[in-house]
């Protein structure tokens, strides 16, 4: 599949708008088990990405992903900034404009490892990783209606963080009291996956 300038631009617009529209909800989730800034953090980062959409989209897919990652690192702050930043920086390392589903899945798997290393965290710790990991599974599975399946997987995965006890992130300071709330970073990951899947559908 060819990720041309039009798709690159559409990806930014879709993801950024989804995050910006969801910012208040993300902040509300973070107020419950964090410090109430995940929405503002993510909005700040993706507003910067959106503002640079044209310049970014002119770049090759790899450079584009790297630049998005760098923008997030420099704009988001908090825990989510280095983590989402690391994710995109890692994706940018290996993806070319013309990519197969397998290549994307491999790059995503490597990016997840990079996030784990940066966050000293793992699946089951009630973080964004708990969305990335099942989404990677769905991506590897491939097949018809993949976009829909990615969305459903992400949605379920975010919900599955509700009963978890947090091991990483601010929510871990709450111990047992972190149980019963959705992880804000899991929800923002779901929003990103959802927006990407929308663009995939539009291209299909």
């Amino acid at each position: 599949m060819m990720i041309d300038r039009d798709i690159r631009k559409r990806l930014i617009v879709a993801v950024a708008n989804r995050i910006i529209a969801g910012a208040e909800e993300l902040t509300d989730l973070d107020r419950a088990i964090g410090d109430g800034d995940h929405g503002s953090n993510m909005r700040r980062g993706f507003e910067a990405v959106l503002a640079a959409a044209d310049v970014l989209s002119d770049k090759s897919f790899g450079e584009y992903l790297t630049a998005v990652g760098m923008t997030l690192v420099m704009k988001v702050g908090g825990a989510s900034g280095p983590l989402y930043g690391t994710l995109f920086l890692s994706l940018g390392k290996s993806l070319a404009d013309d990519v197969s589903r397998e290549q994307v899945a491999d790059a995503f798997a490597a990016a997840i490892e990079a996030v784990k290393a940066r966050g000293k965290s793992d699946v089951g710790h009630k973080t964004m990783l708990d969305v990335f990991h099942p989404v990677l599974g769905a991506l590897r599975g491939g097949g018809d209606g993949l976009p829909e399946r990615l969305k459903a997987t992400a949605r379920r995965a975010a919900e599955d963080t509700i009963p978890m006890k947090a091991i990483r992130g601010r929510a871990s300071f709450l111990g047992e009291r972190s149980v019963g709330h959705m992880d804000p970073g899991a929800r923002s990951s779901e929003l990103i996956v959802d927006a990407v899947a929308d663009v995939m559908e539009g291209c299909a």
Binding site: D35, R44, G77, A79, I167, G169, F173, L174
Partner: protein
Amino acid sequence: MKKLINAVEDVVKESLAGFCSAHSDIVRLGEAAPFVLRRHLKRGKVALVSGGGSGHEPLHGGFVGEGMLDAAVPGQVFTSPTPDLIIAAIEAADTGGGVLLIVKNYEGDVMNFDMAREMSGKSVATVITDDDVAVETSTYSTGRRGVAGTLIVEKILGAAAEQGRSLAELKALGDRVNAATRSIGIALTSCTVPAAGKPTFELGDDEMEVGVGIHGEPGRRRVKLRPAKEIAAEMVGAITADLGARARGDVILLINGFGGTPLSELYLMYNDVRHGVEAAGGTVARSLVGNFVTSLDMAGCSATVSLLDEELRRLWDAPVHTAALRWGI
């Protein structure tokens, strides 16, 4: 939300501008980026750089100056600063002796400071503070938070850096002071993050949170509001249990307000906590009471006990000249 602000997005910037102009004899605003830089840097000295989310004022900017920090990098409210800002502060503060980062143990801070260290290419070491006994330690978890005890680490390292100690010596000293320091906090209210516009959590009129951090986040458990003496006893109990036999010596006792509690209540708490510490066999050799490591307008306070030996006492007593802590100069 009732706050003395103009626009939510300008809060940190405008407050920083005010701070730097009110204390222009001690600090100046960074040029490459908005951070607080000591006005008179000392050539060749190891530079101490700290930072983290805003909302904890006077931490860290109020501790920049002779005998303490060389630079402080504020992020947005409760949000770690990004690596570009930290790198700019490292570059401005370094005068050839290397740079020691003092970072409170929050994943956001740790990761952003780590990225900055990796990207800076300078000789940089990091001391991570994690003095909050409210959080269970476990190698498996994030571990303890860095809270008010950070100010003690910064003060003592500041004095030691002024003596010309090396980066490795300072790193070891910082780790030692941090290991000798324990804190615990309680909150009577949450705080309101400007960008969120409403309190992070709601508490009933007769409730308090025990084991809170400094980000207006809920604590470990919610209990009925109790008299100061009982709160003090619980705080002392948590700290001394954790320190064990080591608590039976000279200590610094810091009663730190979270921003919304009047000084009179902090002194009242000091009175009760001090009695508790002394009943447990400790000797309060040095005291500090006030709003130093705050959580915006949260009502509540933390108690910090830090073990002293002769060396640490001398470093604590050494002259310091910052906006929020000043003596001997």
